[in-house]
Structure formats: structure tokens, C-alpha cells
């Protein structure tokens, strides 16, 4: 924010001194290059992301695709009423938030740590190998990964149970997939396994942008490894970390339909019924398009509140914000 006040003066002192009222149009004209070059993309965004929002009126109807929006029955807030008066909905919210927060914490810490550690590898070939292999699971679909999770955690010769038993940590196989309270952990853990390498790429990119001169200066000052990590690398990628955190707070209500659907089972249903699963099962799955739309609107509103709040919070605390 501070920079924003400084830069206009640097660019063109005389314009910045002009009366405030005219300054908007004046700067619009002055910055016409930038305005013109960005306009087409803004138009695309509005076209593909905002124009379809007219569909939200379907949430107030009992929309039938065959009848279309003009002939479907209007039902007012009934879909919202149904949504908020279902105990499954609140169970869904609890599970969604639980899984999301756990994923957020493990996912962030995991991929940032991994990026830091990869960055510390000195042998370039080894560095590239680690980096290449770590992102591979990203391409293996959830169907396959969930099968592997089930096999590895199985009580019937699953590798995790075998290892724990060999180490005498447990005396008989433990049914991980059948323990409701562990389900959130299974979700976060499997997500970490699959995405840690992929998510760390963006931090590696951010690290590459750090000016190498700073490291050299630190070396000359005799700074140790940890010192460099904590006072150069980490601060260097902090803006990226912050922006990603702010943006993902808005996604707290989505945990990944496919993953949840494939990893959950009848034993853990109380902890696995997420909002997405609930909305699919009782919405689209039953041909209730309007109900699903209502849930979508709820989702958007919550996301908006979360993001703006968090953004404001971030702005007050660290001066960094997404918008």
C-alpha cells in the first residue's frame, strides 16, 4: 500500500499532482496501453465466469431442464429452507471444514518444507530426480490412488500394518479405513502423498526468483544453512505463501468430490459425508438441479465472506493482500 502512493510520483510527478476528481479519467487515458491490453482478458473473464451467473435464479425454482427457466415453477426460498433444515447438511459442513483445515495445514506445511529441502540439495542431478519423482503421483488418478491407499492400510497384509507390527508398535492389525475418526487423517494424508511434489513446484519457482546475490552476501557474512533458509529463502517466498493461503481459504468448503467418494466407506460415513457428497447425493444425483444450485450459492457466499475477511486480516497484520 505504501508503495502505491510512492510510485505515481516517480512515474510522472505532474499527473499525480492533478486534482483528484479528474485523475481517474486522466490516468485511464495515460495508462491506455495497459487498459487496452488487459481489456480483452477482462471481457473473456466476464463472459465465461460472470455471465453464466444468471443461472442462480434457478435456485428459486423447481427447475426442470425440459421445461426451461421460463416454464419451471417458482418456489421462493424453499430450496434454501430444505438445505438449512437438514441435519445431514450440518454434518456435511462439520466434516468438510474438518477435512479442509487438516488438508490446508498438512498440505501447506508439507509442500513448503519439501520445496525448502529440495532447494537445499546441492547435486543438481539428484535435485532434478527428487523433484521429478515427487510430482509423479499427481498424475495417478484418485481411483488408482484410493485403491492403493486401501491396499496399503488393509488389515490383511497391508504394508503399513506389517511395518507397525514388525516394529512392535501394535500387536494386531489395525483397521485404519474402518475407524471413523481417522478418516479426516486418511484424507489429508493421501492428499499429501499425491500432491506434495506437485504443490511444491510453485514454491520452487518462487525460490528461483530470489536474487542470488543475497545468498552470496550471506555466505560472505558466514550465515549457516538454517539461517539462510529462515532469513532469505522463506521471506523470499512469503508473498507466494500468503497469496496462496488467502485464495485457498475461499475453498474451505470444497475438499474434492472424487477423493472423498472413493476413500469413504459405510463404516466411516459419519465422518466422510462432506458437503459435496451430500449435495451430489441429494441434488444432482436425484435430479434436483435447483437444490444443487442453492447449495452452490451458499458455497459462493461463504467463500466470499471467508476470502474477504481473511484478506482484510492479512492486510492489517502483514500489509500483504490479494486485492
Amino acid at each position: 500500500m505504501i508503495k502505491a502512493e510512492v510510485s505515481p510520483k516517480l512515474e510522472n510527478g505532474s499527473v499525480a499532482l492533478m486534482p483528484k476528481k479528474k485523475s481517474f479519467f486522466a490516468s485511464l487515458v495515460r495508462q491506455k496501453d495497459l487498459v487496452l491490453i488487459t481489456l480483452p482478458f477482462a471481457a473473456l473473464l466476464i463472459l465465461f465466469n460472470y455471465v453464466p451467473l444468471w443461472g442462480w435464479i434457478m435456485a428459486f425454482q423447481n427447475y426442470k431442464p425440459g421445461l426451461g427457466i421460463f416454464n419451471s415453477k417458482w418456489v421462493g426460498f424453499k430450496n434454501f429452507y430444505d438445505l438449512f433444515h437438514d441435519s445431514y447438511f450440518f454434518l456435511g459442513i462439520r466434516n468438510t471444514l474438518g477435512i479442509s483445515l487438516l488438508k490446508l495445514v498438512t498440505g501447506y506445511l508439507g509442500s513448503i518444507t519439501l520445496a525448502l529441502l529440495i532447494n537445499e540439495i546441492k547435486n543438481l542431478a539428484f535435485k532434478k530426480t527428487v523433484q521429478t519423482i515427487s510430482y509423479l503421483p499427481h498424475f495417478v488418478s484418485w481411483v488408482v490412488v484410493s485403491g492403493l491407499v486401501y491396499t496399503c492400510l488393509s488389515t490383511d497384509g497391508g504394508v503399513v500394518n506389517e511395518i507397525l507390527m514388525k516394529l512392535h508398535i501394535i500387536s494386531e492389525p489395525f483397521n485404519f479405513m474402518g475407524t471413523p475418526k481417522l478418516f479426516w487423517g486418511v484424507m489429508a494424508g493421501s492428499d499429501l502423498w499425491k500432491e506434495i511434489g506437485w504443490n511444491s513446484i510453485i514454491y520452487l519457482a518462487a525460490m528461483s526468483g530470489i536474487n542470488p546475490d543475497i545468498y552470496e552476501a550471506a555466505d560472505i557474512d558466514g550465515a549457516g544453512r538454517f539461517r539462510k533458509i529462515f532469513s532469505i529463502t522463506l521471506p523470499g517466498i512469503l508473498p507466494t505463501i500468503k497469496i496462496l493461503l488467502i485464495l485457498s481459504v475461499g475453498n474451505l468448503l470444497t475438499v474434492g468430490f472424487e477423493q472423498t467418494y472413493l476413500l469413504s466407506n459405510n463404516m466411516v460415513i459419519d465422518y466422510s459425508q462432506t458437503l459435496e457428497l451430500y449435495v451430489y447425493n441429494y441434488g444432482m444425483g436425484m435430479g434436483r438441479y435447483s437444490f444443487a444450485t442453492a447449495a452452490g450459492i451458499f458455497n459462493s457466499v461463504v467463500a466470499l465472506i471467508l476470502v474477504t475477511t481473511f484478506n482484510k486480516l492479512s492486510k492489517t497484520i502483514s500489509g500483504e493482500s490479494a486485492f
Binding site: 431442464p65 488393509s154 463404516m267 434436483r288
Partner: protein, 551 residues
């Protein structure tokens, strides 16, 4: 950057060179085929669900079908498992393929006015259809509109050589117990317990005396069993009195007793400990590895697993179906009901510019000439005619069981189109069977040596005969009645009670010693709160309507 681009360009060139060799199939369809003397009509066909998503018209049989009917099909099909989404977008857009197999989503398309009623066409042009469907036509009327939208293929199937459903038990267990059948639940589990004690491992793996699918989509294989144990056929979540009154058996004594028995067995360590915490794939893997002594299920689900067991030469571990009943139950109905089921098959959509032509094609599919082609294949290749009788040579016999060959040849892949009943009692006008698998020759030569031992053990000539034959029913399958969108409360009650049952099956069967009754009461309370039986009156009404109209 330059290097990258050149690599990518090279990749494109390789790929395009590779595809250049084989010209894309669809280019030929439009222009070139018009040059022949007979005009070929092309209809597009969209198939939902997971059946025959094949390029039917380009198979050898398909080409002959085109010659006879003058129709070429351009087949497309749903990808992924989300039928609801596809049905929603298609109906919203109002654009359809000419022909559509809507699988489970017929109601959505019907409500959108996407389907052409066939009643008048059947009257005017349906000579073959009327001949083969006859009395069944009145059963095909849609319960909401009273029109016929599709000529359902879900009717009498090929006279089976294996039972449909049953308690599947490994051959070695049956043999060791002198080929038992129609056992009580107690005897059944006693048998498994004894065998597992004597044979704790199979090929070094610990045996699982009893297992079942317990995943989300498979738990009906547990919750549906109680009515079967009581002798009723599978009619969904309800059983029906003679007058058509529906009774939801979720909380019946039968269910209580069956789950309690499973719970007892679980406490003895006889039930697959992962039953509810494994995927369907893992369950089938256990079957294919031969360590599961018994389970409830259908033979059609495990054909690949049996092939795998045969491949490992583990013939003793191949499971065979027997019946299990509650004490005092005389007649069991594991083989279910023989009926026609409305709401399935190929429909003509309102986007079709030539519905009459499309219907004439569907009718032509039902003609004897085409039926011989699609069920039997090409004369000389797939079957032989001796003195007017269609029969199979040694080599052709093998082809009948070869699903890969069948797909390539295009034979036996037209089930979704209108067709006659396929059982052994239905014959062409020249006296031939409608399906090669009805030939006594096929049946007698089909069984492998290890199966013949079972046949001898049970003193039957057909494994299907080990269980009571399919019954006819006054109202059909029952499970094909779905609650319409106009009754959202009932839909909700049905969905919720299903979810609750899924959850409690695991809790009930895994209950610790002495806590079963508490869990059961908890289950009952939740089900009652969800008004689980509020749907009974709707099912009663529908079944009674069917009884009145069909008979």
C-alpha cells in the same frame, strides 16, 4: 525455447504421421456410401449406462444388418459414471441423438418431452414387434403417461446354465460336506466354521469363511438377503403379498435374525474383517485368490474371477451357488422373477428427423432375418445349417463363449435393441432356437470337468437346476418401480433410509458381544425417524395397478 518447440513439433509430426495411416473412420460415412444403389440412412445412437458402447455398424455382423435394414448407426456413448449430469445437460439443450438408450434416466428425458411415444407406430408399422412382444406390450406402458417409449430388452433371457443369485460356496467345501443344498442359516455357518477350522489356510493365505461386498454400491447384497432367506424373490426393498401390498423388510425379524447371525459369526472371527472397509475391487480380488469360502452374490458378477481361478488351476476354490433359508421355509426364490421390465431400451427422440424410418428400423431389428444375424452371427462363420437346423461345429462352439470374438464380430451385442424372448421355449418360425446358447449341444458341452463333478454330486444336468427355477410374477420385478419427482418426500425417505441402512449394516455386524440389540434398537429408531416405510403405500398402489392392468 527453440529446442522445446522443435521437440513439440516433432511430436506432432510423429503423431499426425501415425494417424495419417488410418484415416479417421467417420469421414467415410457421409458421402461415399451414398453411391450405392440402395440409399443408406444414418441414425445416431447415444447409449447411457455401460452396455455395448461399440461401433456396431462397422462390425461384420453390423455391416450385414445395414445391408438388410438400410440403416447405418453412428454410435456414441456416455463416458464416466455420471448419468444424471449428462441427462440434465442434454435435456436442457433439447438436442439429442436420433436414438437414445437412457438407461436409468428415462424419466428425465420423458419429463423433458424428449421421447417419441411409440404406440401409434407399433400399431401401424410394428409387424415384427407385435409378433415378438405380444402381450408384453401392455406392460411397457409408462406409469406416468401411459405411453410406450421403448421396447424393453429386459425380458426372458437365454435359458440359464448357472443360477442367477445364491449363496456361493467353494466346491471343496460342498464336496467335503457331501453336496449340501437348501441349508438353514445355522447349518450353513456351522459348515463354514467346521471347514475353516480344519483348513485354516489355502495356498498359504488365511481363509475368510464368509465375506460380502459391503461397499457403498454393494451393500444391497447384504440388506436384500433377509427376504430371500424367507423365501421371497428379490423385489427391491419390499416384499409383496399376493394382493400386491408392499412391506418394507428393513426392520423385519428376518433382517434382525440375519444380521444377528452375521454378528455372531463375526465375533467368532468368521467374517471378513475388512468387509465394510474395502473396495469392491478388493472383495473381488479375495474371491479370485480363492481364500473366501462363501459369500452371497450373483454369478454374473464373478465371471472374471472364476476365469482367474481357472487360470490358476484352483478348481476346488471355484464357488457354486446353493440356497440358504430360514427354518421352515419351503420354497426359495433365489433365481428371482421372469418378467419384462419397462423403462429400458432404445427410444426415439424428438430430435430425430425421420421417426418413422427409425421405428421401421427398430422393427426390422426384430425380424427373424436380422435376429438370426445378431444372435447367431454369420452363417458359415458362427453357425452351420444342417437340414434346416441351425447348429454349431466344435470350433463355433468355442466362439460362443469368447466375449472378445463376439465384440469383434458384432454378434450378441445388440441386446439393447428390440428382440424376442431369448429363452429355449421361443423359436423362429422355422423351428430354430432364437439363441445358440439354448442348443442342448451347447449346454451339454459347456461344462468343464470340475463342474461336471458338481453336477454329478447334485445329480442335476444343469447347474441352474440346483436352485428353484425363475417364477412368473403378476407385477414383474418390483425393483423397477421408481418414485417420481412429484413425490419428493418419498424420494427423500427412500434415500435417507438407504443411507442409514448402509451405515448401520457395518455397525450391526461389527457390534461387540452383547451390544447387538442396543445397536439394532438405535437403527430402528433412526429408520423410523426417517419414515423409512412411508414409501410402502406408493409401491402398493403401483403394484396393484400393475396387477390390474397386466393380468
Amino acid at each position: 525455447m527453440k529446442k522445446q518447440i522443435s521437440v513439440i513439433m516433432a511430436a506432432i509430426m510423429i503423431a499426425s504421421a501415425a494417424s495419417g495411416c488410418q484415416s479417421p473412420g467417420n469421414q467415410a460415412t457421409g458421402a461415399t456410401s451414398g453411391g450405392e444403389q440402395k440409399e443408406i440412412k444414418t441414425f445416431s445412437l447415444y447409449t447411457m449406462g455401460q452396455t455395448t458402447p461399440l461401433d456396431l455398424s462397422n462390425t461384420p455382423v453390423g455391416k450385414k444388418v445395414t445391408e438388410i435394414t438400410g440403416v447405418k448407426l453412428k454410435c456414441d456413448y456416455q463416458v464416466g459414471s455420471d448419468e444424471a449430469t449428462i441427462a440434465t445437460t442434454q435435456t436442457a439443450s433439447g438436442q439429442y441423438d436420433d436414438l437414445l438408450n437412457p438407461h436409468n434416466e428415462l424419466n428425465v428425458y420423458r419429463d423433458a418431452g424428449a421421447l417419441v411415444p411409440l404406440d401409434d407406430y407399433i400399431e401401424k408399422y410394428g409387424t415384427n414387434i407385435k409378433k415378438w412382444y405380444g402381450d408384453d406390450l401392455k406392460k411397457l406402458k409408462d406409469p406416468e403417461t401411459g405411453h410406450i417409449y421403448s421396447l424393453s430388452p429386459a425380458r426372458k433371457t437365454v435359458t440359464p446354465i448357472y443360477p442367477l443369485y445364491g449363496f456361493y460356496v467353494q466346491k471343496q467345501v460342498l464336496k467335503a460336506n457331501n453336496w449340501p443344498n437348501k441349508m438353514t442359516l445355522d447349518d450353513f455357518f456351522a459348515m463354514l466354521e467346521k471347514f475353516a477350522k480344519e483348513h485354516p489356510t489355502i495356498n498359504g493365505q488365511k481363509v475368510i469363511p464368509f465375506a460380502s461386498r459391503g461397499d457403498r454400491d454393494g451393500s444391497y447384497l447384504i440388506s436384500g438377503v433377509p427376504a430371500l432367506l424367507a423365501g421371497y424373490p428379490n423385489t427391491g426393498g419390499n416384499y409383496y403379498d399376493a394382493d400386491g401390498t408392499a412391506h418394507n423388510f428393513s426392520l423385519s425379524k428376518w433382517s434382525h435374525d440375519y444380521y444377528k447371525k452375521l454378528n455372531e459369526a463375526q465375533q467368532k472371527g468368521m467374517i471378513d474383517p475388512n468387509m465394510f472397509s474395502q473396495t469392491a475391487d478388493q472383495f473381488y480380488q479375495n474371491i479370485a485368490s480363492g481364500k473366501v469360502l462363501a459369500f452371497y452374490g450373483g454369478r454374473w458378477e464373478i465371471t472374471n474371477q472364476i476365469a482367474s481361478l481357472e487360470n490358476q488351476k484352483m478348481y476346488d476354490q471355484v464357488p457354486f451357488a446353493i440356497s440358504v433359508v430360514f427354518p421352515g421355509v419351503e420354497a426359495e426364490s433365489y433365481n428371482g422373477i421372469e418378467s419384462i421390465s419397462a423403462g429400458q431400451g432404445i427410444c426415439i427422440t424428438t430430435s430425430c428427423k425421420d421417426p418413422v424410418g427409425a421405428f421401421k428400423f427398430l422393427d426390422a431389428m426384430c425380424s427373424e432375418e436380422v435376429q438370426k444375424l445378431v444372435q447367431w452371427g454369420i452363417e458359415g462363420e458362427d453357425y452351420t445349417v444342417v437340414d434346416g437346423k441351425m447348429t454349431l461345429t466344435e470350433e463355433q462352439l468355442k466362439k460362443v463363449d469368447d466375449a472378445d470374438y463376439a465384440k469383434k464380430q458384432g454378434v450378441g451385442q445388440w441386446w439393447n435393441f428390440p428382440h424376442p424372448n431369448l429363452d429355449a421355449n421361443t423359436k423362429f418360425s422355422d423351428g430354430n432356437y432364437v439363441h445358440p446358447q439354448n442348443l442342448p449341444l451347447y449346454i451339454s458341452s459347456h461344462y468343464k470337468d470340475y463342474e461336471k463333478e458338481v453336477l454329478q454330486g447334485y445329480k442335476v444336468s444343469n447347474l441352474y437346476d440346483m436352485l428353484a427355477p425363475m417364477k412368473s410374477s403378476k407385477f414383474g420385478y418390483g425393483w423397477d418401480i421408481s418414485i417420481p419427482d412429484s413425490q419428493p418426500e418419498l424420494q427423500d425417505a427412500q434415500k435417507k433410509s438407504g443411507d442409514i441402512t448402509n451405515k448401520y449394516l457395518a455397525k450391526l455386524i461389527n457390534a461387540k458381544a452383547g451390544t447387538f440389540e442396543d445397536v439394532w434398537n438405535e437403527y430402528c429408531n433412526e429408520m423410523k425417524a426417517a419414515k423409512y416405510n412411508s414409501t410402502e403405500s406408493y409401491f402398493t398402489q403401483q403394484v396393484q395397478k400393475r396387477i390390474k392392468e397386466w393380468n
